[in-house]
């Protein structure tokens, strides 16, 4: 077997709260600093400290960023899971085992190295508290040494991780050196994996989706942020707060924004709607349980036509479900959130760049369409580290929608809050406080006519909801449109969205190797547009790949599509809480194509 260069997984099994997170990030960034694309995924429990956590670093020459099953190098630091972790390894895996951990069954088919971490770390610091943290840097040194990661790359990563704290950086570097030395003293023959310098990460950034979304919102003119903490969405708001605090004060140091940590998600939704009504760009972020609680308010926002942006960083299950696992389970629910007939704009970011773009775009769309806009991220995108090209500065004017100022009111004969003046279903609005005789109107649920007057008349109600539907139709072509990638000669299509995208990118290459050419449509928003139907028409079979049990997007497409048969449109689903990998999607498609799956 030859040497595999820049294409393998490193898995670290550890305990949360043990400080291994910094070490893992340093290891990941060291590879990145070698010019090799990486993707880091943290698999953590729903508690604060003391439970098993795994961190997977994927190095990928091709820049594949989805989860990849299989581990080439395992660092087993957690006594509680080491036996299990080791048992799951394929023969030949390199395992670094903390030598204080005794294994019941020693496997001879692995390359198992017992590392005297406790002894090694003792050299570096006499302080027990520090040792607990530094021990992790030792495995960074060992792994780096075996893989040929250069010291410069590591030091750069450490400086970044402990930026400003030179003493800490130096201590950590010392720990890395100890690890490197130990590895040099304990060489491995024919390891078979190596990191080689490349130029593939130059200028790139590493960021998580939540921070990226926050950045987009802050540069998109976010004015009011209301939130209630919930994993995995909290860092959307926490990052936004940090950026707001840095960049959004006037010359007197006063805030050009407001943040409210609310008592719950009902309140967050209310604040966002109240602020949207009064003319501020407002947003909140939550996860499924919060979405459920916001249902009534979202319906109000839809019927009263008030802008509101709601991020849903999707996780698994109800309440104590699997709050630290990922899913795309809220697509259908958010699209039609609230009782009665409703349909909302939903943006579906796949990358951190999308998060950044949609952070601003959602605010624009909400004000343009005067309606709630959802951004459906997920835990994998939101909380993991992703490599990306740097984000461009958006300098197009903010789209504030059809707002009638005092001056504009002077120019028009009549103002009717809910009238379809332009034929696009989107009415004009005025903002509270506008000092004009024609400005004021009374906002209430659906019981109103086009002048916002109370009405229980059948035709008034029907007119309102028909126009709302028209507005939704208008949105089809104005939300972010799908991106299509084709392969000459392909008769099979794949549709995916959100983080499933990354599994498709790799999956298509794998499929191609199996002789199956595919075209790929990445859906980026709801409502769906005509192109989706054309894409389906133009292919023999189309696989909709997603991360939920019920094939929610598959159903939405079937619902939207005319004359779609199941024979043509097929559903591939992955829904065990882990991010979808390329293999799951390939296997699903191969099964559909009745190709033998290995």
């Amino acid at each position: 077997m030859g040497v595999i260069v820049n294409d393998f997984n490193i898995m670290v099994g550890t305990v949360n709260g043990s400080g291994s997170q910094s070490a893992n990030l340093v290891l990941m960034r060291s590879i990145f600093n070698m010019g090799v694309p990486i993707a880091g995924k943290n698999i953590f429990p729903s508690n604060i400290a003391g439970l098993p956590t795994w961190f997977n670093i994927r190095a990928s020459e091709h820049g594949y960023m989805c989860r990849r099953a299989g581990t080439e190098i395992l660092v087993a630091m957690n006594p509680a899971t080491a036996a299990d972790d080791v048992a799951q390894m394929a023969p030949g895996t390199l395992v670094l085992l903390n030598d204080t951990i005794g294994l019941l069954k020693e496997r001879t088919d692995l390359r198992l190295l017992k590392v005297p971490f406790t002894k090694l770390v003792a050299e570096i610091s006499p302080e027990m508290k520090l040792r607990k943290l530094l021990v992790n840097m030792i495995y960074v040194g060992i792994v780096a040494q075996y893989l040929g990661i250069e010291s410069d790359a590591i030091d750069l990563a450490i400086d970044k991780q402990f930026s400003g704290k030179k003493k800490a950086a130096d201590l950590n570097k010392a720990a890395v050196r100890v690890g490197q030395r130990w590895a040099t003293e304990n060489p491995i023959e024919n390891l078979g994996y190596r990191i080689e310098r490349r130029e593939k990460t130059k200028g790139k950034i590493i960021i998580d989706g939540n921070a990226a979304g926050a950045l987009g919102a802050v540069f998109g003119g976010l004015q009011v942020l209301a939130w209630y903490p919930i994993t995995p969405s909290s860092s959307v708001c926490e990052s936004a707060i940090a950026y707001l605090e840095r960049f959004r004060h006037d010359k007197n140091g006063k805030a050009t924004y407001a943040v409210v940590q609310c008592e719950d998600e009902l309140a967050s939704a209310g604040v966002v709607i109240g602020a949207g009504w009064a003319g501020a760009r407002s947003m909140t972020a939550t996860a499924g349980p919060g979405i459920s609680l916001m249902a009534e308010f979202v319906g109000l926002s839809y019927y009263t036509e008030i802008p509101a942006v709601i991020w849903d960083v999707q996780r698994v299950g109800p309440s104590t479900g699997l709050p630290t696992r990922t899913a795309q389970g809220d697509v259908a629910f958010t699209y039609n959130l609230s009782h009665g007939d409703t349909a909302h704009i939903v943006l579906l970011p796949a990358t951190v760049r999308d998060c950044y773009d949609f952070g601003a775009e959602a605010l624009d769309l909400a004000e343009e369409f005067q309606t709630p806009v959802f951004v459906l991220s997920d835990l994998d995108l939101g909380m993991n580290n992703w490599m990306s090209d740097p984000f461009p500065y958006h300098d197009k004017p903010l789209r504030r929608g059809k707002v009638l100022s005092k001056e504009k009111l002077d120019q028009i004969k009549e103002f009717a809050r809910y009238r379809d003046v332009d034929g696009d279903g989107i009415p004009y609005r005025t903002l509270p406080g506008t000092d004009h005789a024609k400005a004021a109107y009374f906002t209430r649920g659906s019981g109103h006519n086009d002048k916002a007057e109370y009405s229980e008349k059948p035709h008034d109600y029907k007119a309102i909801v028909d126009r709302l539907k028209k507005k939704h139709e208008t949105a089809r072509s104005r939300v972010p449109q799908p991106v299509v990638v084709t392969e000459p000669g392909a008769s099979i299509g794949i549709i995916a969205y959100g983080t499933t995208h990354h599994a498709i990118v790799e999956g298509r290459d794998l499929l191609k190797k199996s002789g199956i050419k595919t075209d790929y449509m990445q859906i980026r928003a709801l409502p769906l547009c005509e192109d989706v139907l054309r894409f389906i028409e133009n292919h023999e079979r189309v696989y909709v790949v997603e991360q939920n049990r019920d094939g929610q997007m598959h159903e939405l497409i079937r619902s939207y599509g005319r004359a779609l048969t199941d024979d043509k449109l097929r559903s591939v689903r992955h829904y065990d809480g882990t991010p979808i990998d390329a293999k799951s999607c390939v296997d699903g498609i191969l099964a559909g194509e009745k190709v033998e799956v290995n």
Binding site: G203, K204, I205, I206, L215, V218, F219, G220, G221, L222, Q223, V224, A226, R246, F247, R248, D250, G253, K254, A255, T256, Y257, A258, V260, C262, E263, D264, L266, A267, G270, V271, V272, I273, G274, A275, G276, W277, A278, G279, A280, R281, S282, E296, F297, L300, P390, Y393, D395, L398, L431, P432, G433, D435, A437, A440, Y441, F442, T443, R444, G445
Partner: protein
Amino acid sequence: MAEQDQDTPAAAPAQKMNKLGLSLLNYRGGKSTLCAGCGHDAISAAITQAYFELGMNPRQVAKLSGIGCSSKTPAYFLGEAFGFNSVHGRMPSVATGANLANRALNLIGVSGDGDTASIGLGQFCHLVRRNARMVYIVENNGVYGLTKGQFSATADRGSVQKKGERNTYEAIDVCALAIELGCDFVARSFSGDRKQLIPMLQAAIMHSGTAVIDVISPCVTFNDHEGSTKSYDYTKAHDWILHEIGFVPGADNIEVEFDPGTTRDVKMHDGSHLTLKKLATDYDPSVRLNALSVLQQGKADGKIVTGVLYVNPNSESFADSLKMVDEPLAHLAEKDLRPAKSCLDQVMDELR
């Protein structure tokens, strides 16, 4: 200046103008659809009068409410003001959002006892805690009027429903709660006592934080019978009036005359004056525990205590505590909202 103080007997009362040159008509709203005699309508009239007399621009006012007969009333006063009839029990959060988006708006929230003390209790408490600047009125009739008369959470233990059912739950006293939660303006009144309610409202409107007024407002259709403790008769008979209330707007810059022996003077945040003329006892509304005791005592004696229960005129509003710009956020221009390119570049650099 203060036109409302000039008594011009020549002009017909309808023509009377306030300092903005507006007549009472400018402060009226749509025709009420409530039951004839409903306490809520009297409160709407008092609100109309209070704003008119204050000479406040109605277009700078925003009226918010939840759901209920009471929550309908913003449609029946200040027709030139923007209104928002939101969802049941959640007006406080909507008002908070509106306050943050445009701190120059003068907010008045109208709620019911069901809207506030049943479904909305959590939001009410948290609004008070945040101290967003607004007047929050509970039109308290002890029942859910709009859904036909079930007991609400402010119904007194032992009081009797129209159909004869007796309430077995302890009543929630929203004033006591607000005081306990740190609210800096807490008062109780009676829809039948216009003389008390109007100046109380005016002081509340000028208060710099959340001002809570619980107004006993009888529901003539479902809770005005014998056995009710929220009927007109019962309220009149059991009203323990703490003091006689007066209000002198600050903008008028008039030196207030009052006798320190008989009247307490509270100088509000904006310089206006709330005067409290001593009645049977001398009640000091600047001590929280006084308010809690007087409420406990009222309860023990079967009395409804009305008046300004607690006031701290130096209340730091939510917008202030957030250190927001003075200009309403909603009025900020794009340049204030989008940081410079250099800021983004800086962040990108850090992420490399």
